[in-house]
Every structure is written in structure tokens, then in C-alpha cells.
Subunit: 667 residues, 2 copies
Amino acid sequence: MEASSEVNSDLARERSRATFDKENLINFLYGGPAAVRKKRYLENIIKQDPVLQRGRRWAFQSREERADTGVWKHLYVDKLQADLGVTDVKEREYLRDAAAAHEGYVLGLHFGMIIPTIKNQASEEQQKKWLPMAESMRMIATYAQTELGHGTFIRGLETTATYDPKTEEFILNTPTLSAIKYWPGGLGKTVNHCVLMAQLFTEGVSRGIHMFMVQVRDLDSHLPLPGIEIGDIGPKFGFEEMDNGYLKIDNVRIPRENMLMKYSKVLKDGTYQQPPSDKLAYGSMVLLRCSITASVAKCLAEACVISIRYSAVRRQTEISPGGEEAQILDYQTQQYHLFPLLATSFAMQFAGNFIDDFYREKYPDIAKGRFDFLPQLHAMSAGLKAFSAWTCSAGVETCRQCCGGHGYSHASGLPKIYVDCTPACTYEGENMVLMLQVARFLMKEYSKLMNGQPLSSVVQFLKCDLTMKSCMAEEVALKCLVLAYQHRVTRLVADAANCIQDIIGEGKSQQEAWNSCTVRLFWAARAFCHAFVVENFVNTVSEKHLDEKTREVLTSLCRLYGVHGIITNLGEFIQDDFFNSEQIQILSHTLTVLLREIRPNAVALVDAYDFPDTVLQSCLGRFDGQVYQALYDYAKSSPLNEKEVLDSYYKYIKPAQMPNKELFSRL
Amino acid sequence: MEASSEVNSDLARERSRATFDKENLINFLYGGPAAVRKKRYLENIIKQDPVLQRGRRWAFQSREERADTGVWKHLYVDKLQADLGVTDVKEREYLRDAAAAHEGYVLGLHFGMIIPTIKNQASEEQQKKWLPMAESMRMIATYAQTELGHGTFIRGLETTATYDPKTEEFILNTPTLSAIKYWPGGLGKTVNHCVLMAQLFTEGVSRGIHMFMVQVRDLDSHLPLPGIEIGDIGPKFGFEEMDNGYLKIDNVRIPRENMLMKYSKVLKDGTYQQPPSDKLAYGSMVLLRCSITASVAKCLAEACVISIRYSAVRRQTEISPGGEEAQILDYQTQQYHLFPLLATSFAMQFAGNFIDDFYREKYPDIAKGRFDFLPQLHAMSAGLKAFSAWTCSAGVETCRQCCGGHGYSHASGLPKIYVDCTPACTYEGENMVLMLQVARFLMKEYSKLMNGQPLSSVVQFLKCDLTMKSCMAEEVALKCLVLAYQHRVTRLVADAANCIQDIIGEGKSQQEAWNSCTVRLFWAARAFCHAFVVENFVNTVSEKHLDEKTREVLTSLCRLYGVHGIITNLGEFIQDDFFNSEQIQILSHTLTVLLREIRPNAVALVDAYDFPDTVLQSCLGRFDGQVYQALYDYAKSSPLNEKEVLDSYYKYIKPAQMPNKELFSRL
């Protein structure tokens, strides 16, 4: 039985009392009415597609079923995209999310990473050979970098590719246990090739990490080739449909032409030609990193939609004795958890837009070898990836907990969003490592400041006067919020720099000093990212083409994001008395005032994300709010209910009830 | 292939350089050498038991297999406990944890909650009837309280039991969709009875929530009885082996004698007799709540063991260019994440010991109707449950993330610990609701203080002078740490009380004022729990029978717990200039000094938890540190590798590779 399509009356009332027109916000978020129409048109196609209704719901599938479903859904959506002529990246995503949200895209790395890598790293001749193979899926490949013992630190990879000029081949090996490739998505069962990252040895010299196209399975039988041991790495927290794999290579020979040779080259005689710059290899990694902020922001947005709609429907405890039970969204403590996260979801989405635009604007220059903006692009993409991944994945979990017991059921959709979101803290650069790269950028900029050199544009504020006090007053101006965050960064950057100087002053090396100050460096980098996100949010709500009502609502969220961040990290803001105690009282009071201010618009705000139910896949987050009917339906269709009495009753419980406990002679 | 039993050289070196004898700490934690020997003896029995080696490893089982395994393992361990004559609660737990750690105890509620409930709430006559049935498992029951629409707020339950004096029966109903029982453990498939919480109606009057023994399935066929619709609620984030169930009741009649009548009674003619006190029903709930702190502390302890051992084995990035890659445990940022959690795991374990002892000491009086200590016991058990569940479950996730990519694999054991730990934030009282109950206790005590009445023993410190400044100096005395935490509580309690008074002053009701200040009330309650845990840790490390070396190490951890908590919540400590800026510098500096101080003992400290590998079930946390071999073995045995080529290759991929894309005509 399908849940009724009548809208829950609490939700309906919430919607009617919003102070802004949510369609205006939807248009702002998705790029105008035409784009929104297209989005809904595509999502509707998925909703009505009969093939996609096949099979059991995701939560009821075994890992094997999920792996199977993952493949056909992926190919089916590819086909739909092609048939509909959908080429725009965002539009393709609307289709895929509506068809299989958070279900993993088994062939995603092949299309999203390998084909771009061939284009960026292979010579023209190689491209002519491999691109058609990859596009027709005759070749299916993944990116084999991570090893059992080696992750973010690429130079530490142990897999070797040793050139043999006699046969003009590379000899590939994973020479140790810790060199075994481990984790690449699709490597276990799906691919027949991989782009292997390996230490190149030629002329008896180590030349560093290079990429090699390696066939791992037969193109027809799909059986592993000689010298290749390959398989799935087993069940994980999530990504169950994905056959992350391992690969052990024992003296496998590949032709010289299989090294990706757009930049570096090995000639027939083994002569090694260096790339013009070692910065050129970073392109696709930075691109992927830039896309993470938007994607984790979307996870948090979905979790906010689910938990806020549910909090409007769920009632618990009379506020006054004997009265009606209150919507839990009316509890200040519930608002205190959820509304700052709602604000964060917008903040992170806008930060994702920024870094995306920044990449598109600056990358063409970088690809041409003009590296002026590379340090900033690198620092911003690393910092925003790490900061957003931590913030959003923790936020998704808070949303889940705010749904009480039901949040723990897969019926809520929340656990699935979480396990899909949290690995972003680790992949494409472990978060803490990235944060310390941001810190390195900040230290370089700080030393420029000390030497009177010009600063990069994103850190101009480091010039500010640290003895200045906050301009914060009753109205909590956005400008004063931004200045507070920038003041915090400036103080923490100076603090970290002093830490390093002090230790060098004690006679330690630069390296030792750095390692003794990484906690402070981390604090500085985190504060920098936070300040940037606040400033970018303020810039976004100041954009001219927003209507006034929508701007008001977004401004409340922006102010809440800023104020909540200060209250939560207050110590870092007030150690130097930047705020006086009256200002702290103002901020603390404003926090609860903003919760009250946002309350009437909370449901309309999450509606404005315009996620169809097919994307949310949540009994709690349904647009119609028919939560309990949906949970009941979910329960009734649980696979464990296919049999009225489980075998375990006959096998174990009944014998255990017998006085002679005959069960135990059987076990 | 089993991983080699040789100990990884890094781990061996770590162990050799500890400054204390870990056996002393093990004895301290587990109650002396004899208790430790018994513990190891029991764990060893499990390790060598051939029956428990049956079947696939937990991570490789489907939900159906897990549900099946859950039942036989549970019964098997029961039998072992009986055969070995093990009756001590802790010793029983050693056996169970070693046999099935974090795998859920399907019959746990029957033995752990139902039998005690019968003893505490049933009349003597009822006990005579039901106890033998329950003990022989002829009756298997669970506790049916939570409904689709109702959780922590028990008075809101909708299920009804209406007395019919004509037949001397109760008529049971779940009259609405939201009244359907949902979540009780084992309700779906395992039990044949439940203790039903329902609104009693007799003589046409509602009498509030009472307990009823209700048979739901036939004792022989195990089929649901007429009027009963019952089943599993479907897959969840964790607890997959558990058949949490739903129950819909349609006009089911049960005899009058099935109401649990130790305190309240319904006579034959329908006359209702009130219980002597409504406080008597809380006993088993408080007991369960008291046990949660120790159990989440154990989750965090296990996560610390895994992540710290792995961090000693894992190497990443040269600290100096060209040098050997460093153990990641040597990175200050890794220590900054893990060591405060290690300290927290001890702090919470000691807090768990406290609340356990407190319950055992005070409960006998309460059961006799002397309620002097009930408010304190209630506040402490609620507060420590909520505070520890939040802290420990978030801590487990941090430990997981500190293991990088491998932490995400079920091979690490960490996701399983997390999903087992996090529901403690919700069950036995939703955390935020409990925190506000603590706040209510604090407000009552504060008003006693204002009225010059004597205070409860746990809040004596509220009398402290708020204008006093910290005694913190270079040596960071434990006493000054405790005072700082107590100062923070005192300020936040006054702050919350003022918030309420101010709003009442504006003409609002007491109730409205409370609801407008719950964020501040929450801050006060959280600070109170935090202060208690710090003070209790300090008391524990001051115990006389610790040897000096062990005391030194525990004192470092205790100091770290205190200092880290201040730095992380600095704003709440310094808003009123309780610390001057020099003291803040001291604390900030001490934080990194303590990380360095603990570093050489980190592995020995986690070894001192003395969890055998059978409990940890982790490739990363193995005692021998043979991490990579174990991960490789885990991968090779993944069920997805049972077939070299998956069916999806033939069904979808091969057709998709054909030029005519014949796949899509098939789907």
C-alpha cells in the first residue's frame, strides 16, 4: 500500500505561513525558471520510468543485489542521458540522483576520471587508441593509486614499473604486501583495465610516480590475466554496491607505449624525459576536490530536508501540562541543532559554487603553464574540501540523531546519506593533511606580510590591525561578523607563526618546529576556511538580483551561520578581548532570536531545495509528511517478514525450550 | 591464510618503552589479579570453542544470516555460562563479548529486562506463574513501550487497555496508526509475549500508563494470535541481527490477572487502586540507564585500542625529506585527536563505575520508599547517560576517521562499534530530554541556594564565589582544573536561571520562560556533567592503592582530559575573565606538552584495556599489529570473490559493450 498523497496538516500549515515565495529561492539556487523547469522535467522522467521501479528497495537488498543493481542502473541512466541528449553536467546529475541517490555509481570513475585522465595525460597517439575503446566500454578502467600501506602521500607508493629496453616493455610489480593496490573503485570485479600509479625505474634510476595503462582482465572472458591477482576488498560501512578492489601484480610486462606520455616520456632506449612542470599532473585531482564541497553540501541539505520536515510532523510532550503535544520543531533545543545546520547547508553550497567558478576561471591559465593562481586554487580547494567534508558529514549525523529512534532506521534515508558523505573526509586527500597544506600556504603568506610583499587576494585581510576591537552592536551587522572571523584567523596565523619561531629559537630545525606546532597550524587553517565561508555567504546574500523577501530569509540564515560559529568557538574569538562582555551577551542573545526568526520559514526553506521524494528515499522526509504510514509500509515489506516464522525458531528456540535442552547436542 | 603471529616491530618497540607496568593498570581496571586471571580464562574458552568458529565472519553475513546467528550464539553462550557456573555480571559479559562483540543479544531484553520487570512489578502470585515460564523460555518476552508516534514521552502513549468488568478482561487496542508499537527489540519474530505499556481505562476513567503481560504468538506454532499483527520493522543502521518489531492490536482480550499488579491494582469490579508512589516504577529504567555509561565507555575504549595500535603500525610521509616515513602516531595532529579520546575513555569508564556504585548504594533505600536520594540518582544517571553517549559515540567516529580509508572498511571493526554505540543517544531516554531533566534538577538546587536551603551533595560547589579567579599556574594542578569546571557550571546555572527570571519579568509564564531558555539550560546541564566527570577522574587517580608509575600515567591522562575540555569549550570558561591571558597560554601550551608526555605510553595504555582480538574483531587493532596481512586476508575472503566473474558482467556489461547496445532491449 502506498502512503496517502494527502499532505499532513502540520506540514501544510507550515508551508502556508512562510514569509517568502519559495519558488524565488528555488530559481536562485538552480539558475532561473527555465533551469528549474528542465530539472523537474528530468526528475519526473525518472519518477515515471517503469524499469527503475524494478527490484526491491535499496535497504532490502543484499550486498550482492546492490552490486548487481549498481551496474544495470548505471548503464540504464547513461542510456537515458544519451537518448534525452542531456549533456550538461548538472542536468546529468539530476537524472542520476533521482534514479539512484547515494547508491554509488559503479562505473563513475571510468567515465568521470579515467576518460578525463586519458585526455589530460595521454599523448595524442595514445588518445586515438584508448579514447574510442573507453567510450565504447570495450575498455573499462579505474584509477589504481592507493595501496595497502600508502594513501595520501603519493611519493610513498611502492608499486614499481621498471623499463626493460631489450623488450621495450615495463615490468610491473607490487613487490611487498603493503604495495598491493587496495581501494580503487570498480577494481575488484568491474574493470578490465586500470591506470596504474607506479614508481618508474629506467636507466637504473628512480624517476618518481608515473601512470601506466594496464590491462588486468581478458576482454572477452573477463578472467584475470597471468600475473594478476585481483578481487573485491569486502564489505564496508557504505558503498556496498561498489567493488572497491585489490590488485597484486607479479612481473607483468606491458609495452612501452602504455606509459601515459603527454608530459613525461621514456624513449625506446630507456632515456627519460622530464615533464615541463610537475604541477601539470595535478589538474584532475584539483577538479575532483573542487567538486566535493558541493556534493557534501548536498548531503547535508538532504539531511536537513528530512529532519526538518519530520520535526514539523513529529509531536512530543505537552509544552503546557495537559495541552496538545508540541511539534518538536517548536523546541528551542531542536532548532538549536537543526537551524545552524540548515544555514550551514546553504553556506557550503555557496562555497561549492565559489570554488567551482574559481577553478573554471583560473584553470585554463594553469593548464597553459601560468601558475600565478595555483597556490590559491590549491589552498582553497584543499581547505574547502576538508572543512566542508568534516562539517557536512558531522551535520548529517546530527540531523539523524534529531530524528530520534526513527532516524536510526534505513527507512529514514539518513544512514545511507551519512555513509555516502563521510568518506569525503578521507578520499582525494586526507582532511588533516589538506588542512596542513592550507596552513603552509598561510605561513607563506604571513612571511610575505612580514617582509612587506603583496599578499594573495584571498588573504588580504591578514593586514588587519590585531589590536582593533569588534564593531559588533545590537543589530549584528554582517560586516562585523566577517571582521570577527578575519580577526580570529589573523590572530591564529600569527600565533602559529610565533610557535614555529619560538621553537626555531630554541635551536630546533624548521621541520621539527613545524611538527611541534601542527595543532596550532590546524586551528589557523580551520579558522581561515571558516572565515572564507562566512564572507562568501555574506557576498552571496548581497547579490543584486535577489528579491527582498528571499534576501531577508537568507540573511537570517547567514547571520545565524556567523553567530553560531562564534558562540561555538567563542574561545578563539575572545582570548584577546576582541569582544567585550556586552558584545558576547548580544551574540548569545541573538542566537536564540535568530532561531525564532527562522522558525516560520524552516519548512519552506527546506522545500526550496526542491529535492523530489525519489532523491530523498526517506519515510521521514516525504513531501506529503505521511511519515507513520510510510514507516508502517516499510516495516510490513521487510524481507524478514517474508516468512511468518523464521527457521531459527524451529532450529534453536523450540529445542532450547525443551527441558533436556536438546538444542546443544545439535550445535 | 591466518596472519602471522609475529608481533609487528613497531608495536613491539612501543610496548618495550612504556614507563609503567601495564599489568598493574589492568589489575586496577578489572579488580585485581584474581579477577584478571578469571577474565582471561573465560575469554580463552571462547577463543578455543569450536562451535563459535562456525559460519562466515560477521561482516560477510546477510541480514538473514545475522538474525539466525544471533539466536544460536545467544543460546549457546547462555549454555556455556550455565555449564561454567558463571553468575557474576561482569564475568558473564566477558564471555558474551568474546563470543559476539557488538553483534547484539537477540534475547537480551528477555533475560535482562523482562525477568527483572516481572520480579519488580508483578505480584507474588503473578511471579509464581510467569517466572518459571520466563526462565525456561516457554515464555519469551520483550518490553513493548515505544510507538510509531511516541517515544521518550511515556504519558503520550496511545495504546489502550480498557477494563471490562463483565468478563473481567482488559480489551487492548492500538487505536491509531501512530499507536502501533514500533522498535521493541525481539518483538518482530522472536518473542511470544510482551510486557505492553498501555493507557489503562477503568470505571470510564483514564488511569495513566500501566504494564500488561500479553501473549502475541502461539506457544507451539509460534503463529500470531488473532487480533495481533506483528513483524520485523526492517533494516537499520546497525543491530541487523535484532528483529526490532511492530505490533498492531485489534480488540485483543486478556484476563484481569495479566496486569502487572505489584503496586497498582484493578479489582474484579473495576475499582482502581493507586500505587503507593508513582516513583516505584522507575527502578529498572534507572538501572538500565546507569549501565549505559560503562557500555559506551567500552565502545570508545575499543575504538581507541584499534586506532592507536594502527597509528603505531601505519607509516605516512617522511617527517624530514628523504627520511623514513613516520608512524602516524608521531604526528601531533593525530595525537590531538586520539589522546584526548583515550583520556575520555578512562574518564567515562570511571564515571560508569561511579554511577553503578551510586545506584547499588542508594537504590535499596528507594525501593523501600525512602526517596531522599532519588532526585540526585535520577539527575546523575540521566546526565551521565546522555553526556557519555554523545561523547563516546562521536569519539568512536573520530577514531574511525583517524584510521583513514581502512577505518571505513568493516575490516577495521570500527563501523560496527559505532552503529552499536550511537543508538545509546536515543534509547532509554532521548539525550536532549534527559539533559533538560538534569537542568530542572539544577534549577531546583539553584533556587534552594537562593533561599538559603541546604544543597544536594553533588552540587555543593554551586555555593562558590563567582567573582573568584582561577588558581591555575604553570604546574596545572588537578584541583585548579576541577575548580575551573565548577566555576563554569556555576556561571552557566546562574545564567540560565537569570534567563528564566528575565522572561518571567516580561510577563510570560514559567512554562514559556523555560521553553525560551532551553539552550542555556542545556549548556548548564552539559557543563555540570562535564565537571562531574572531571572531578570523578581526579578522585579516581588519587586512590591510594595505585602504584606510583601507574598513577603518573593516569594523572597525565586526567590532566589532558581536563585541559582539552577547557581549550575546546574555552568561551564558556573565560567569558567572565576567570582565566587571565597568561593562564590561557599555559593551558594551551600544556595541551601539547601532555600529548608528548603520553606518547611513549599510548600503546601500553590501550593494551591495558586487555581486550582480546576476539572482542575487537579488527584487522587494524590486532594485538600482533599484522595489519596488512589481515586486510589482505579479509579481501581475499570477501563473498563477492566467490565467483571470479559476476553475473552482472554477462547480463549487463557484455551486452553494453556491443555496438547495438542490446542490453537495453532486455531491461
